[in-house]
């Protein structure tokens, strides 16, 4: 039974004084404000209930949890009655039994009594409560008013709503409101006619529902049920693992029948998601068993030839031979690898080890190059560690939340829901984004300030905010004095106070009214706890790293570091992008962010691995491609990345791939990059492997194998066999041995082990002798680098600016239903929400170009051109257009230029000057 064993009925109340009371003769202690229901549950006393759940505020509607209190009147509901000192409570008396039976009899009088053929049979709280209450007959005759025969709403591709099974406990409605914050459901009508309704009654699909699954999770009956359970029956076993989509890193129970995953259910014990989920993690796992999956290695002589299925031995031997041949002919530096930030820590670790130990160079990179490499650079320089400072729970303590270049409700939905919950509790919100994202305004959310800046001017705007803070006396002087470098701060203060950084001075450049900037700066600086969350709208710019450092400067200057509710929080794109960086899949860094030039670090690895490591930085991914076109770089091992769709300046990428002699792609599907590959190695999905992922809050969580690898090998095994074939000895018999090696060689991970993870569920690094249970909040007493360092953040405008021919700026992002290049989500039913990339264009710009909603438009940048359908929308400001890059057909990245962050070469995806016109022959 899913609920009652561990759900205590109402949320915990923490921090208050403890009171002592008697329940059923037992002395019970509970914090003030705790419900009687919860206090009883904690004491092992189970009071029947249907509308209560510890994930929802008490509601008091089902009237099953009634109790009697000595000296009190009537029969109060224990879910809404708080404990009180000296209270004497009885949960089971003859009258209570009668009342509960009376109420349950009413429930059953309006419920189809078809338990044996119901999809929730055996997993139904109503059934369970009926048994507990002991109803023996239903005296109301069959002819009465009923909800029987109401139509089933099957519009959502993943779950169905069967109104006749609904008991109107409103758990779904409350979950949608309180947990997800979509407010997509209501109860329409009153009294007996009251019925759960999505939107204005148009069904779930047409409503504001984001298909997060919270309602399905909350439903005590089969009223809201996964379609797969309806089809397949209840699962029989479960494996707890970690989601493979975004950087939130939600914990899920994979529920299976045999080797068939039936459903994924968010795990209430998962600390990153606390039982919540989004449409991707919860439902969009069908790609793992999609027929497109490749089940055996493929090899071909040239990319014009058809693929030839081969065995693992042959494929591995072929790759090893090719790489050794290339190195012999073109030199050791002529090959490299791209590790996947979707693979496990252990797998990434092995890839960089393969490169450093077997390839003998540092040519290893990962997709953080194109997303969060500026974060690593910027936070390392200012704070001393390449990671976010907080845990997700920290947001519950923030009073002012500043979201910069991030769209968490679409891209990090589970954290987005948590953030919105905090906003509903009264936190103030500043959004810095060229586009009106869902956070700017929506149900019960409204940003106090939306600084809709021109794309590419982040640094100018943040400098202006810092200018206000410095010149208006808003600096937290004591924090700066105690925690930061005196000289770098003094330099920065003088630099930023210069009038050229004043909001008024940059108004024309940023397009944001100076007064707005001043007000927002004051709002941020004067909060008790102010937190910054940012995303790729910060990093994917020509000044990505500078922007990160400007953010760090702001946080340090206002003392917003080192306690709950504050901090600098990068929202990581991929599930394991933090881990991939931690694991040293960077050309300049060994695991644990130690530069390859550091002799001590290098020596440790050299000793353990028995090789010599190059002290020079290796090639970054874009430079591998550039050098390929130059003819020096000839072979690449690409694990789980679709370079040919995700990289900027795609024509250049395609030419580079074509120029190589051995391109090895390891992936689930024959992706775009595989068109240019000579060898394809079928990888394993997250359901098919063991290991660990590290999320955006540095939380290391276990990935556990639920089904065997479709192609026979987990990805780490492929890498290990490749290393062996290249005559570098690797002989791990289990992944825990890899983690043990990581722990031995990496100071931040020295306390991490599979044993610890089993014990704690998950752990946030640094985890070592000083922090054996991990570190939820960093830089508490001192910065990792000692004193915080202020970096001068000169605003250098991007060269990518509108001109006479290209008058608009294109910026890109994600939508909720799709994920990145769509390799996974396009192979699920998520297409019902988003089946194509569209170009959002402001009505003014549309009108000026004669573009109507739905028109096909031609978009041309200086790199290339493509066509999309137009969506006329005020979400973008005039002069700015927006699209996504989820579908290969859109070729969005053909448009993106070769511009990149000066420090990390993270591509400037967010700013492309484009010309947009109605495509010839297009019709609305």
């Amino acid at each position: 039974m899913r609920l009652c064993d561990d759900d205590l009925g109402t949320p915990a109340r923490l921090g208050a004084a403890t009171v002592r009371l008697t329940i059923d003769g037992r002395t019970v202690e509970a914090p003030e404000g705790t419900s009687l229901l919860r206090a009883a549950a904690q004491a092992g006393i189970r009071i029947p209930r249907l509308c209560a759940s510890e994930r929802l505020e008490p509601f008091g509607s089902c009237r099953l949890c009634l109790v009697q209190i000595e000296g009190g009147r009537g029969y109060p509901a224990s879910c809404t009655t708080p404990v009180a000192e000296g209270m004497v409570v009885h949960t089971h008396t003859p009258r209570l039994t009668e009342l509960r039976r009376g109420v349950m009899e009413l429930y059953l009088s309006d419920h189809p009594l078809d338990c044996l053929t119901c999809s929730a049979n055996g997993d139904c709280e109503l059934q369970e409560m009926a048994a507990l209450v002991g109803v023996r007959r239903i005296r109301y005759p069959a002819g009465g008013q009923k909800h029987a025969g109401m139509p089933v709403d099957g519009s959502n591709p993943y779950f169905a709503f069967d109104a006749e099974k609904c008991i109107v406990c409103a758990r779904c409605v409350r979950a949608c409101d309180e947990i997800q914050g979509s407010f997509a459901l209501t109860v329409a009508g009153r009294g007996f006619a009251a019925a759960v309704t999505a939107g204005q009654g148009e069904g779930f699909l047409g409503s504001e529902c984001v298909s997060c699954g919270a309602c399905v999770q909350a439903c005590p009956t089969a009223a809201l049920m996964e379609k797969r359970v309806i089809e397949e029956g209840l699962p029989e076993r479960a494996v707890v693992t970690t989601c493979a989509y975004c950087g939130v890193g939600c914990s899920f129970r994979v529920e299976l029948k045999g080797e068939v995953p039936v459903r994924l259910v968010p795990d209430g014990r998962g600390r990153a998601n606390e039982g919540h989920s989004c449409v991707k993690g919860r439902f969009a796992f069908g790609y793992a068993t999609h027929p497109d999956r490749v089940r055996s290695p493929l090899v071909r002589g040239s990319i014009d030839e058809p693929w030839r299925e081969v065995g693992w031995d042959e494929a591995i031997a072929h790759v090893a031979a090719e790489f050794r041949r290339i190195q012999a002919r073109y030199g050791r530096e002529a090959i490299g690898a791209v590790a996947s930030s979707r693979c496990t820590n252990e797998e990434v670790y092995l890839v960089q080890k393969l490169v450093r130990a077997a390839f003998g160079n540092n040519n290893v990179d990962n997709c953080a190059r194109v997303c969060h490499s500026p974060t690593g650079y910027g936070l390392k320089r200012t704070f001393g560690e390449s990671a976010g400072t907080q845990d997700f729970a920290s947001v519950d303590h923030a009073d002012v939340i500043m979201v910069i270049g991030a769209n968490p409700t679409e891209a990090h939905p589970v954290f987005g829901a948590r953030l919105k919950r905090r906003l509903r509790q009264g936190a103030r919100l500043i959004v810095i984004d060229p586009r009106t994202t869902g956070l700017v305004h929506g149900p019960h959310v409204r940003a106090e300030y939306h600084l809709a800046l021109r794309p590419g001017t982040n640094v100018a705007l943040l400098n202006a905010m810092a200018h206000v803070i410095v010149t208006e006396g808003l600096v937290d002087e004591s924090f700066v004095a105690q925690r930061c470098e005196a000289d770098s701060f003094a330099r920065w203060r003088a630099f930023i106070a210069d009038p050229r950084h004043a909001p008024e001075a940059v108004e024309a450049e940023t397009g944001v009214a100076a007064e707005q900037v001043r007000a927002a700066a004051r709002c941020y600086a004067s909060a008790d706890n102010a937190a910054i969350y940012y995303g790729l709208g910060v990093t994917e710019h020509s000044q990505g790293a500078t922007t990160v450092m400007a953010i760090a400067n702001l946080a340090m200057a206002t003392g917003n570091i080192g306690r709950p509710g504050v901090g600098v929080n990068p929202l990581r794109g991929q599930n394991n992008v933090q881990g991939a960086c931690d694991m040293g899949a960077f050309p300049h860094e060994l695991p644990g962010y130690r530069h390859v030039s550091e002799p001590v670090a290098r020596a440790a690895f050299e000793a353990h691995w028995g090789v010599t490591i190059s002290p020079e930085p290796g090639l970054r991914l874009p430079h591998m491609l550039a050098e390929a076109r130059e003819g020096r770089f000839k072979g690449i091992y690409i694990q789980g990345e679709d370079l040919a769709q995700s990289e900027p300046d795609l024509e250049h990428v395609h030419a580079a791939l074509e120029a190589m002699e051995c391109v090895v792609v390891q992936d689930l599907f024959l992706n775009e990059t595989a068109r240019y590959a000579h060898v394809f190695l079928p990888g394993a999905s997250f359901l098919e492997k063991d290991g660990t992922f590290t999320n955006a809050e540095r939380r290391i969580s276990r990935v556990r194998r639920a089904i065997p690898p479709l192609a026979g090998l987990e990805d780490w095994e492929i890498t290990q066999r490749l290393a062996q074939a290249m005559e570098y000895p690797m002989a791990y018999s289990h992944l825990s041995e890899i983690m043990d090696e990581i722990a031995r060689l990496t100071p931040q991970f020295s306390g991490v082990s599979y044993t610890l993870l089993e014990r704690l569920g998950s752990v946030q690094w640094p985890c070592n002798e000083e922090a054996p249970h991990g570190t939820p909040l960093m830089h508490r007493e001192r910065f990792v680098r000692g004193e915080g360092s202020f970096v001068l953040t000169e605003y250098v405008p991007t060269s990518e600016r509108p001109d006479g021919r290209r008058e608009l700026l294109l910026t890109t992002g994600r939508v909720l239903a799709q994920y990145n290049v769509g390799t996974q989500t396009r192979r699920t039913a998520n297409g019902v929400w988003c089946s194509a990339d569209v170009l959002e264009i402001h009505p003014q710009d549309a009108e000026a170009r004669g573009i109507a909603e739905g028109d096909e438009v031609c978009i041309e940048s200086r790199m290339g051109q493509t066509r999309l359908r137009a969506k006329v929308s005020e979400r973008v400001r005039p002069g700015v257009v927006f699209t996504t890059f989820h579908f290969p057909a859109s070729k969005t990245n053909v448009l993106v230029t070769d511009g990149s962050d000066w420090a990390t070469n993270c591509p400037e995806y967010k700013v492309v000057a484009v010309r947009v016109e109605r495509a010839a022959g297009a019709s609305a």
């Binding site: 008490p58 509601f59 008091g60 509607s61 089902c62 009237r63 009634l66 009537g74 029969y75 509901a77 879910c79 809404t80 009655t81 708080p82 009258r95 009668e98 009342l99 009376g102 109420v103 009413l106 429930y107 009088s109 309006d110 005296r139 109301y140 005759p141 002819g143 009465g144 008013q145 008991i167 109107v168 409103a170 209501t186 109860v187 009508g189 009153r190 009294g191 007996f192 006619a193 009251a194």
Partner: protein, 526 residues
């Protein structure tokens, strides 16, 4: 004679909705027309109603002997009245004499309702002339704790039905921490058989405004809301006009009477949901939500409107506050009996010869009210049943007519005074149908949140329909009794919880209407 130089005669015609419903506007128009035809100078004043509804439209004329009443007046009576010299208070078959001397009024203790039918409700000066705003003046000189203490000493209990001691509520709100607090007036007078709130709103709105202002001073609130039912459009117009006038004269606004204290007042209109008369559902509705009943705790006094401490009272309770301050808490307390102090606004309705408003100190017997005031049934048949306290009040039989009207005695008898509404039925009433009606009412008005009310009301209605159709009575009645008790003990709020009272009352006191049915074969209707 030059009519222009002559002082016009003042004629009073009520504009209370109940008077309008029986033609008061037409009568006023007939009087105006007749006076014009006769070129007689006349000033028409539109007042509230004194609450003697069998006499409405009740027209009064100002004469040197005082106001002389005529009623019930129909438009066709008007020429005859003029001909008889009614402007001078002359004799006429409709002449009733000095209103205060009418036995119906003479026996009453009109403290709260003294101005009804007397003053023009939209004239601040009329209010001031009748002692209005004296209480506020006093209150402004008092510290909040002393104000609260006065209310406590008066023994005032909430007049909306629950009869909770007002002073305790005030003290809770006053002590609750927080910069923002609210005073909310529950003017969602939905109980059938009650109309006293409406009469105050239409006939003496400043008394409510003054009472709310004093309450706000006492508890530290700066914003008040009146939640008024949409079924009372006349009350809405009068009250909103009065609020504007009070604001214009400085009795409301950022600086009440130059005291430096702010109090704003706004009227919000309900939308036809009876359950919003329940205070927590009302607060939800004021917040712009579905009117679902909230679980308590938290008490609204601590976490009410928008989560802030909120003082919620009904119209009569708040309008009594100026009386208490003006007359003195002890003077008010001297009325009544036991723990029921002061006066009660009783409303006689249904099949009664003299329907109307009777303000009396607690303690009169039910029979006295029904016969001495009500005069028995309108149909002339014997009284068979009365429902006291609205649609959720118990049905009582003549065996209860000795019960004194006070909270405790009624509660002990398994009944309640509620909002003071009393509906009279003669011996043609079918109590099984009234019991079915009670369930049907609950089913129609249930907010749908809690299960006993949501499903139970429908199942109860169905069971009684089966009884009415001649079904197997004993089993059904046992089920109904148990269901009613389940609803009573397990429902979230009084709507589901008190539906048991009329049902069980009917079953207990009028069993023959249920058991004899199968034999008599009486038809089912409605």
């Amino acid at each position: 004679m030059n009519p222009a130089r002559e002082t016009p005669t003042v004629v009073y015609v009520p504009r209370d909705a109940a008077a309008l419903a029986v033609g008061a506007d037409a009568v006023a128009e007939a009087i105006r027309a007749e006076a014009a035809r006769r070129a007689l100078p006349l000033q028409l004043k539109r007042t509230g109603s004194r609450g003697l509804f069998w006499l409405e439209p009740l027209v009064e004329v100002a004469t040197p002997q005082g106001r002389i009443a005529y009623g019930p007046v129909q438009p066709e009576d008007v020429p005859g009245l003029f001909a008889a010299g009614f402007l001078a208070g002359a004799a006429h078959p409709l002449r009733l004499g000095v209103p205060a001397a009418l036995p119906y009024l003479q026996g009453q203790d009109r403290l709260l309702h003294a101005r009804l039918g007397v003053i023009e409700p939209d004239r601040v000066d009329d209010y001031l002339a009748t002692g209005g705003y004296r209480a506020l003046e006093q209150a402004l000189a008092l510290e909040p704790p002393e104000l609260v203490a006065q209310v406590q000493r008066s023994g005032l209990r909430g007049r909306g039905g629950a009869a909770f001691p007002a002073g305790i509520k005030w003290d809770t709100v006053r002590r609750a921490p927080g910069p923002t607090k609210y005073v909310v007036c529950n003017a969602d007078e939905g109980d059938s058989g009650t109309f006293a709130d409406r009469m105050v709103l239409e006939g003496d709105p400043f008394s409510l405004i003054e009472g709310m202002t004093i309450a706000a001073l006492a508890v530290g609130a700066t914003q008040g809301y009146v939640y008024l039912r949409v079924e009372y459009p006349h009350a809405y117009r009068t009250l909103t006009a009065a609020i504007e006038l009070a604001r214009a004269r400085g009795y409301l606004g950022p600086d009440v009477c130059g005291s430096g204290r702010a109090f704003e007042l706004e009227v919000r209109v309900g939308a036809g949901a009876y359950v919003c008369g329940e205070e927590t559902a009302l607060l939800e509705s004021l917040e712009g939500k579905r009117g679902l009943v909230r679980a308590k705790p938290p008490l609204p006094a601590l976490a009410g409107l928008f989560g802030r401490p909120t003082l919620v009272h009904n119209v009569l309770t708040l309008a009594t506050v100026p009386v208490i301050l003006a007359e003195g808490a002890e003077a008010y307390r001297d009325y009544g009996c036991g723990n029921s102090r002061g006066t009660l606004s009783l409303q006689l309705a249904g099949n009664v010869r003299r329907p109307g408003l009777v303000e009396k100190a607690f303690g009169m017997s039910l029979g006295e009210l029904l016969y001495d005031y009500g005069g028995g049934t309108a149909s002339g048949r014997p009284i068979r049943a009365v429902q006291v306290g609205g649609p959720l009040g118990a049905y009582l039989s003549p065996s209860h007519f000795d019960l004194p009207l006070d909270y405790e005695t009624f509660a002990a008898a398994g009944a309640m005074l509620g909002h003071g509404g009393i509906v009279v039925f003669d011996d043609t009433v079918d109590m099984a149908r009234m019991a079915r009606h009670a369930f049907a009412f609950c089913a129609d008005e249930s907010c749908g949140k809690c299960t006993p009310c949501r499903i139970g009301s429908v199942r109860g209605r169905e069971a009684l329909e089966r009884v009415l159709a001649g079904g197997p009575v004993e089993a059904e009645l046992a089920l109904v009794r148990e269901l009613a008790a389940t609803m009573r003990d397990a429902s979230l709020c009084a709507l589901g919880g008190m539906t048991a009272y009329p049902v069980l009352g009917a079953l207990e006191h009028f069993p023959e209407d249920f058991t004899a049915r199968a034999r008599s074969g009486r038809p089912v209707q409605g």
